[in-house]
Symmetry: C2
Subunit: 409 residues, 2 copies
């Protein structure tokens, strides 16, 4: 019998009525003749509340504090798993809950952000074969010492994909509050449409470019294990978006989707000495300060002895980043330091880039035609990102959506 | 090194400040050179909230529903155990939390009201010997199939006493919101004083007589395993009351304490046929209706062919009980049925009764002198209970407290 893994996030199980709604979605898969394992998150708000209590008591800076943190926050998923199993039983669907340590889902001991080593699937498979639905508490595992671990925020997606791999599931359905992956944000681009299939690599670029639907690690895992992931809405019955191998994306458009992020700030250092090691002097202290630098460009000025360096950081880190750079002024010896927090990053993404030429050129021309100045460019094999003034974000997205022929499905 | 078990109930860990306060009480025992295992309840209100959610989803009438119930409600103690361990670590006291399945505390599979089979103490003892405080989630265990079980409401007391027995603890300190066991309710009898020592048997009679401080099962377990239990307040530093063997109660007063209960209603059936089996006809259906009958007296009327039967039930069950009895009228053939829900039960309790005579006589005379009529009497080896009109409760308690010489410590 085919095994289907379903995963429901916090908003999908936010109250008892929604849990009953989830139970009906589980029942539908059972009625179709599938064996079903359901992975659930904590009811929305619960994890934040638990995390907040731990932070009031502790700096969470020691390994044993993080072990307790995991014991505490994992209780949210424990409750949801039990509640959904109750709701299913009440509907006449035999079901039982499985906690991380009961499977067991064995992880390393990096508490608070543990990585999955192994899922023992014997016991849960036996229970599925006896005709039970398995309701699995997401986000949690157990380390080799028998302490509860958690997989980091959003870890329930990873639990679901890992379980789907362990159970050799036919499909892993990730239910969220959106009904799939779109060519672009439909709130901005009204002509955006839902994608039926997206390659794993594309969704990875989209997620890191600001279109947060799935946890990155879960997509990597799906890609590595060939798990067919479907993203769909728990509040509608519409078909979702299927994540597949690049080869399965039949229709090779030049661009699959367009992502954007407003959480950007630009920093430019002018006339930096163009000598070996200067990059390390700039970016080392920023890394030490836990500031995530994204786009970096370096332009050699006239003569070649000096260079301008521009990079972007998350907007909330701008003040800190400037302070860190200023502290290193003696070593970096830049002439001036300027910044701008009214910038946005727009990215066009698609595996079609590998086989089509002129994609970048088309992007630059489209933006130029609209009078939009490009501040920074960065590219990967399947993505081109540009930094622009934030006020042009919507205009840029709509123009690019039309230019790449995405307006018509 | 001596092992001390401490237990803190829901009101003692109701918020983060109180959890920090508990951590200080733990530290004090550590500073005295003890190895400390702490058993905690859920933060007050949490268990009710979780139970309420389960009831909204399910009738909780099947074994698998009760398994999920236990998975859900046990999360409350899980959170408190983690939080207290965090608070202790933050104070520089090495500590770790232990869940029921981690010890493990093995129970039977009677989910919702499981009984403890065994506590494996090797792992926790090793951790204590390494210098850690053990923070144990109360109320929970694990059945032989690896499903979480709970011990029923108030089960954390039982967890604590069982753990004290398993660890051969020197003492089991039960912290509550009262600071010990009193000769009588101090809100009514201002001359009531705290008892330094009470025999297990006495506290059992007191608890069942309405002075609810400790869960009955935990006292029975302490008595069976010779665990020295101390009841004391988590909100003061006053010495508490020690539960000991009867032989250790040095000062043999005639009476140790006086208890009362207003949760009583009287039912009388007149002129019942005095034939074999009639009692079963009366009380069988009441038991079937889950109504707990307490005091029972039967007076043979003139001639001996008929008898009057009087008994008490919890006040809230009176209406149901009358309906049950009326339904059996054809079988019982009583002449009239009358009832009174303005009655109270007053009990004098003490192991001293075994060696002193005239205790009952003194009780009856004291009440008669105050003009208080006795409706029903029942006795055990170490207890005499009388049913009186509720309005005389305070008068009776004060008069008896004086008569048995309890006013002076």
């Amino acid at each position: 019998m085919p095994v289907i893994v379903q995963k429901f996030g916090g908003t999908s199980v936010a109250d008892l009525d929604r849990i009953r709604n989830v139970a009906r979605k589980v029942k539908r898969e059972v009625d179709r003749g599938n064996q079903v394992a359901v992975v659930v998150s904590a009811m929305s708000g619960v994890t934040d509340q638990l995390v907040n209590m731990t932070r009031q008591l502790s700096g969470l800076s020691t390994p044993s504090a993080l072990e307790e943190y995991d014991t505490i926050v994992s209780s949210g998923e424990q409750v949801t798993a039990g509640l959904l199993a109750l709701a299913l039983n009440e509907m006449g669907i035999p079901a039982r809950s499985w906690l991380g340590w009961q499977l067991p889902l064995v992880s390393d001991a990096a508490h608070g952000k543990a990585r999955i080593h192994d899922i023992k699937s014997d016991a849960i498979m036996e229970s599925l074969n006896e005709g039970n639905v398995a309701v699995v508490a997401g986000f949690q595992g157990v380390d080799e010492h028998g302490r509860i671990s958690t997989l980091g925020r959003g870890g329930s997606d990873t639990s679901a994909v890992a379980l789907a791999a362990a159970l050799k599931a036919q499909r892993c359905d990730i239910y969220t509050d959106v009904d799939g992956i779109y060519t672009c944000d439909p709130r901005i681009v009204t002509k955006a449409h839902k994608l039926h299939r997206v390659a794993y690599e594309e969704i990875l670029e989209m997620a890191s470019q600001g279109a947060k639907v799935l946890q990155t690690r879960s997509v990597e895992m799906a890609m590595n294990h060939g798990v067919r992931v479907q993203v769909l809405s728990s509040f509608s019955d519409a078909e979702g978006t299927l994540l597949v191998d690049e080869e399965e994306v039949v229709e090779r458009k030049r661009i699959t989707g367009i992502a954007y992020s407003r959480d950007e700030a630009r920093i430019t250092l002018t006339s930096v000495a163009n000598i070996p090691g200067v990059s390390a002097e700039i970016f080392g202290p920023l890394a030490d300060a836990n500031i995530n630098v994204d786009m970096i460009v370096q332009n050699v000025s006239e003569g070649g002895a000096e260079t301008d360096v521009t990079f972007t950081v998350p907007r909330g880190d701008l003040k800190n980043a400037l302070a860190v750079v200023e502290k290193s002024r003696d070593k970096i010896k830049y002439k001036s330091l300027n910044s701008d927090d009214s910038v946005a990053k727009v990215s066009v993404i698609g595996v079609g880039m590998r086989s089509h030429v002129g994609i970048a050129q088309e992007m630059f021309k489209t933006l130029a035609d609209k009078g939009i100045n490009i501040l920074v460019i960065s590219t990967s094999e399947i993505k081109i990102s540009v930094l622009i003034a934030e006020e042009y974000t919507e205009l840029a997205l709509r123009a690019l959506h039309t230019a790449y022929g995405l307006d018509t499905e």
